[in-house]
């Protein structure tokens, strides 16, 4: 249990509270970042209300990490502005740094030091006294189930332990805004569930969380709002529910017996269902079903065209479909491991 010292709390709270000061946790307008020929971030607007989990969804190389780096004062945007609780990330960088915690894709803790030493040093850097820093370190290690490993150097830590310690290190200052850059990538399902619980608890204690992920399931489970970005642009934004309903009632999956028929099959599907179909595997076609009645016509038409099917299924919309539909770049969404 975190017991923040009274004195510290008093020092941090302004003498008067002003309801009108309710500013969004993040407000970004027209962010651009160009690396050589690559427009990694190409005019992104973001508004993240205080107290929510905001999911940033996108394939690898979509610009997610670059956006976080700009918001976390690590990178200077080439154009646009970003404010964290009303403070400009460029001109008030040192203030912004007092408001955020960042847990990146790579562990940002010291390999050669023990878990306790790491946390104590971060605590000291944040202005805690030696004894407070030790106390805080012990509390956080307890919370994250790392007490037994407190004295081990990180070289002996597993991936999941490292990730937890990394998150613990971001929470020393109890920042109101936490950036989690793919916090569960590479974790086993059990550790991932623990991480999800921790994230939910953070929000219930008043933190705002910006979370990037390539797992649509994760965004669906955790996020109150989701923004989908691709090629450095925002291509969809809304609650998971809004995004799902926007995409259609259900999706039809048609698996062909012979992949050679795919062009013809696509043409028939698009003509009869009057929608845009997409393909993510050599013999699999997906299409939203606007009118279920037409599916009967479609199946008959496919038989007439002598196209043999290996399987047909109807699926309720998932964020995967949303993702495929809005990115239109099916291969990356399927694998997610391609470009970086």
């Amino acid at each position: 249990m975190i017991q923040q010292s009274e004195i510290q709390v008093e020092k941090l709270i302004k003498p008067f509270k002003n309801a009108e000061q309710e500013k969004p946790a993040i407000e970004a307008r027209g962010l651009v970042k160009v690396f050589g020929d690559n427009r990694a971030v190409d005019g992104i607007d973001l508004t993240v209300p205080t107290g929510c989990i905001y999911g940033v969804l996108g394939p690898n190389g979509a610009g997610k990490t670059t956006v976080i780096n700009i918001l976390a004062t690590l990178l200077k945007a080439d154009a646009g502005t970003a404010k964290i609780f009303g403070h400009d990330v460029q001109h008030e960088a040192q203030i912004v740094r007092q408001l955020i915690g960042v847990t990146g894709q790579s562990a940002t803790v010291d390999e050669k030091l023990s878990a306790t030493e790491n946390l104590v040093i971060f605590g000291r850097l944040l202005g805690l006294s030696a004894s407070d820093a030790r106390k805080k370190a012990a509390e956080l290690l307890e919370e994250f189930g790392l007490t037994e490993a407190a004295k081990l150097t990180l070289e002996k830590f597993s991936g999941g332990m490292r990730r937890r310690l990394d998150l613990a290190a971001s929470l020393i200052a109890q920042p109101p805004l936490i950036f989690l850059d793919e916090p569960t990538t590479g974790l086993d399902p059990r550790t991932r569930n623990q991480m999800w619980n921790t994230i939910r608890q953070l929000v219930s204690s008043g933190s705002t969380i910006l979370l990037t992920t390539q797992y649509l399931d994760e965004a669906d489970q955790l996020a109150n709002r989701i923004v989908v970005i691709d090629h450095g642009r925002v291509i969809a934004e809304g609650t998971p529910h809004e995004l799902k309903t926007a995409i259609g009632v259900a999706t039809l999956h048609v698996r062909l017996a012979d992949g050679k028929d795919i062009v013809e099959a696509m043409r028939i599907i698009e003509t009869i269902l009057i929608v845009k179909a997409s393909t993510s595997e050599p013999a699999l076609i997906t299409a939203p079903i606007a009118d279920p009645e037409r599916v009967t016509d479609l199946l008959l038409a496919l038989r007439e065209a002598n196209i043999h099917l290996a399987g047909v299924s109807v699926q309720e919309p998932t964020l995967d479909e949303v993702f495929l539909a809005v990115t239109g770049d099916t291969k990356q969404a399927e694998k997610g491991e391609t470009t970086k």
């Binding site: 960088a93 850097l125 933190s207």
Partner: protein, 271 residues
């Protein structure tokens, strides 16, 4: 689990600058961090423990007879020379280790923390004075074992040692600069050796300068390392402070005046 409510971002009172006190405190914490790391990886101290021992033995017995007639007469000349070579080599390692350290993910965290930007740099350089201290002590101890009895006694030795440590700290800014601008740790080592060898060998550290050709002698005479070697010899052997003392101090200050701002700027740009 996480019970306490977080104080909302809009209600916090914050400052956009880092105070001098915070800068000092951050730097000391970073120095503490470096020392903890040394404790975990004692092999980082090989250069400042083995080198003084091996080099003192080697140089004394190889050059002793040829240059000073016998080992005993050579010791007052060579011990300050070896001391300075060892400590300056140790200051080069500062740059290499800084580069290695900066390549680690933990530097990304330092960058997003509200700490003085200069602290990781200042801390590393500060912690390294302990390495120079170890090298200094071991060189004098080796000298003592071989029969070196400095004329100015313990006081002179301490003064000489402190001067060398201060000088090395100043020189370490050069290597820290290369550590920051270089792309890899091994390239830092490469660049630094090119500077290090002329600086230490083209001096009066090991040989008397009167046999050198004129052009070389003129370089040796302006080399701040030569002045440092002379200053330390005077301090340890006679217990006097001559003009070499002041010249080496001025040289060191000039190095800091040029390289400290350069280093800090390069670091800030990267940070």
């Amino acid at each position: 689990m996480i019970a306490t409510q977080i104080i909302p971002g809009a209600e916090r009172e914050l400052k956009n600058h880092t105070s001098f006190r915070t800068t000092i405190s951050n730097s000391l914490t970073m120095a503490y961090r470096s020392l903890r790391k040394v404790r975990r990886t004692p092999e980082q101290l090989f250069d400042v423990t083995l080198q003084p021992i091996i080099f003192t033995l080697m140089f004394t017995y190889i050059f002793g007879g040829a240059i000073a007639g016998n080992v005993h007469n050579y010791l007052p000349i060579v011990i300050p020379g070896i001391l300075i070579q060892t400590v300056i080599t140790a200051s080069m390692v500062t740059g290499v280790q800084l580069r290695e350290d900066m390549d680690k993910g933990v530097f990304n965290r330092f960058k997003v923390m509200p700490i003085a930007r200069i602290a990781p740099l200042a801390g590393a350089l500060l912690a390294d004075t302990i390495r120079y201290g170890i090298a200094t002590a071991l060189t004098f101890v080796m000298g003592y074992i071989l029969g070196y009895r400095p004329g100015a006694g313990l006081g002179g030795v301490l003064a000489g040692g402190l001067l060398v440590i201060l000088f090395a700290w100043c020189i370490s800014w050069i290597f820290a600069y290369f550590g920051i601008i270089a792309r890899t740790a091994s390239s830092v080592q490469g660049i630094s050796l090119i500077i290090l060898f002329p600086l230490t060998f083209l001096s009066n550290a090991f040989v008397p300068t009167n046999t050198l050709p004129g052009w070389l002698k003129s370089f040796v005479n302006v080399n701040p390392v030569s002045h440092l070697v002379s200053a330390v010899r005077e301090l340890t052997n006679q217990g006097t402070i001559g003009h070499d003392f002041w010249l080496s101090l001025i040289g060191a200050v000039v190095v800091v005046a040029i390289f400290a701002p350069l280093t800090v700027r390069a670091y800030m740009r990267k940070a």
